[in-house]
């Protein structure tokens, strides 16, 4: 590969990093000029992050948050696909569940946190429940819309072909909705992560959210920011993996 090829290959990443570079530069200026209280300079934050990356605590917290987020997303995906497909494929189910869903989905997941904590205590279970509630809607609504679309588009064709219900499900609905489902899952995972970190900051003594709050309480500001930056990195990684899956499924 020649030099120009390498440069062209790296271009999207360079462009992606440009935004981060500008943000960091702005942050460095703000910190150097001491415009805002309690904003440590980026160098301090990055060296704190480096320190944490070599220790065990960050990885344990990351493992916890990622595991809980993945569980919540997985549960939300199963429920969302089943219920979404049911209301998308059957007008009767849509009438039965439609208004319930449209009421529930406007309940802010954060409002659920105190209730869930009261019922389930300060453990991973509460995190998963709140994360699942937030992650459910993007999957459910995407799957419902996609299966509704498939139904109206291919209803006549599948009847002419005399497809049985099982074949119709697996040869038409599943392949026809899988890409939209993954898009829903990608949005869902991001929401689950946000809610999991939030409930960890508020109450559950584990994971990245807890580390942010713990460092903040101890007035270790560089460490606190290091965890915030790291949480962003985890989210970015999660999104990239799901985006690649989505691209793969949406080919050709």
């Amino acid at each position: 590969m020649n030099m120009a090829g390498i440069v062209a290959g790296l271009r999207p990443y360079v462009l992606g990093l440009a935004g981060i570079a500008v943000l960091t530069a702005g942050w460095a200026v703000v910190a150097a000029a001491e415009l805002l209280d309690g904003v440590p300079p980026p160098l301090e934050v990055f060296s704190a992050l480096g320190e944490q990356l070599t220790g065990a605590e960050l990885w344990r917290a990351t493992g916890h948050t990622v595991a809980v987020t993945a569980s919540a997303t997985a549960i939300a995906t199963v429920i969302g696909v089943l219920v979404g497909a049911a209301i998308g494929m059957s007008a009767m189910m849509d009438r039965l569940l439609g208004s319930t869903i449209n009421t529930l989905r406007f309940v802010p997941p954060v409002a659920l946190i105190p209730v869930v904590l009261l019922i389930m205590g300060f453990g991973s279970g509460s995190e998963i429940v709140v994360g699942t509630f937030a992650a459910l809607w993007p999957v459910l609504l995407n799957v419902a819309a996609a299966s509704r679309e498939i139904k109206s588009r291919f209803e006549d064709m599948t009847r002419i072909q005399r497809l049985g219900p099982v074949r119709k499900l697996f040869s038409v609905y599943v392949p026809g909705t899988v890409a939209a489902t993954i898009t829903g899952v990608r949005v869902a995972a991001a929401l689950a992560l946000i809610l999991v970190v939030a409930i960890e900051m508020l109450a559950v003594p584990a994971g990245l959210g807890h580390q942010v709050r713990f460092a903040g309480n101890a007035l270790q500001l560089p460490t606190m920011y290091a965890y915030i930056v790291w949480t962003g990195c985890v989210g970015l990684l999660l999104n990239s993996v799901l985006q690649a899956t989505e691209r793969y499924l949406r080919r050709p």
């Binding site: 291919f154 006549d156 009847r159 002419i160 072909q161 005399r162 040869s171 038409v172 026809g176 050709p252």
Partner: protein
């Protein structure tokens, strides 16, 4: 795409294989009988009767074109014939049996290929889809699908996805899928309406060739009067609101027909004129 006018009949025969020929007990079938049929879409008001007291019949192996003003109920008629919607009154019989749902010996080519082809399957797998549903054994599917693709002169595109094909190729693909299941009746809803004239000519000839070889019964809806006369043994004219047969025109032009010669024949011109005047008078 390559547009072939008037496929050579000798060449077309040689590439075809015996396996897709109609089985003997199917060959003689394919009659349609419509008597006194009425239809109104569910929930529509009484005066929105789409079809009322409509009667006509199609003999096995006949090529019938249906023409009529836009919105008069041609698509609805095909849906009734195929059992996609139930007649409200009157009776529809295919091969003497009342239609209750889509019959197994009936193929349907939709006006809009986007509503028929699965975008996540390539061409040959789209044709196989019809065979899977019909319960054809896995090992035979690929060969039958390839034969069907050759039959519509679409041999080298097996691995292309619908989105990578032109509109004409997608319509051919749809026709190939319908043919692969060896129907005795083929219902076609303005299948060539969205195509340019040259592609349309090529597909008309390919269709006539297949029709002749397989002995199909074809009901072909079109709004193109030239196309109707060129293809048909008989043209059925519908009027609007509610749809009813106002005229049936027998077409006795020689076969095989030829895009240039047939359209220049005085009889063609006369039939076309008569058809035009009939529709204008509606």
């Amino acid at each position: 795409m390559t547009v072939r006018l008037a496929p050579t009949s000798a060449g077309g025969r040689q590439t075809s294989d015996v396996a897709i020929e109609p089985t003997p007990e199917v060959a003689g079938r394919g009659s349609i009988d419509v008597s006194g049929v009425g239809y109104r879409y569910p929930g529509a008001a009484a005066e929105r009767q789409v079809i009322d007291d409509l009667s006509f019949s199609v003999r096995p192996g006949e090529f019938v074109c249906v023409v009529g003003p836009s919105g008069c109920g041609k698509t609805t008629l095909l849906k009734l014939l195929s059992g996609l919607v139930p007649a409200e009154s009157g009776g529809i019989h295919v091969d003497g049996v009342p239609v209750q749902g889509p019959p197994s010996n009936l193929g349907f080519v939709f006006q809009d290929h986007a509503r028929a082809l699965l975008p996540w399957r390539n061409a040959v797998r789209n044709v196989e889809f019809g065979l899977e549903a019909a319960g054809v054994a896995r090992k035979d599917r690929r060969e039958l699908a390839r034969q069907a693709l050759r039959r519509v002169q679409l041999p080298d595109v097996e691995n292309l996805y619908p989105a990578q094909m032109s509109g004409g190729m997608q319509q051919r693909l749809q026709i190939a899928r319908a043919l692969a299941a060896t129907p005795s009746i083929l219902l076609m809803d303005e299948p060539f309406a969205a195509l340019d004239a040259l592609t349309r000519f090529a597909l008309e000839d390919a269709l006539l060739e297949v029709w002749r070889e397989l002995g199909l019964t074809v009901v072909f809806v079109t709004h193109d009067l030239d196309e109707a006369v060129y293809l048909a043994d008989r043209v059925v004219v519908l009027r609007r609101g509610p749809a009813r047969v106002v005229r049936e025109l027998q077409v006795e032009l020689d076969r095989p027909r030829d895009q240039g010669r047939t359209r220049a024949e005085p009889e063609f011109v006369a039939l076309r004129y008569e058809l035009f005047e009939t529709i204008r008078a509606l």
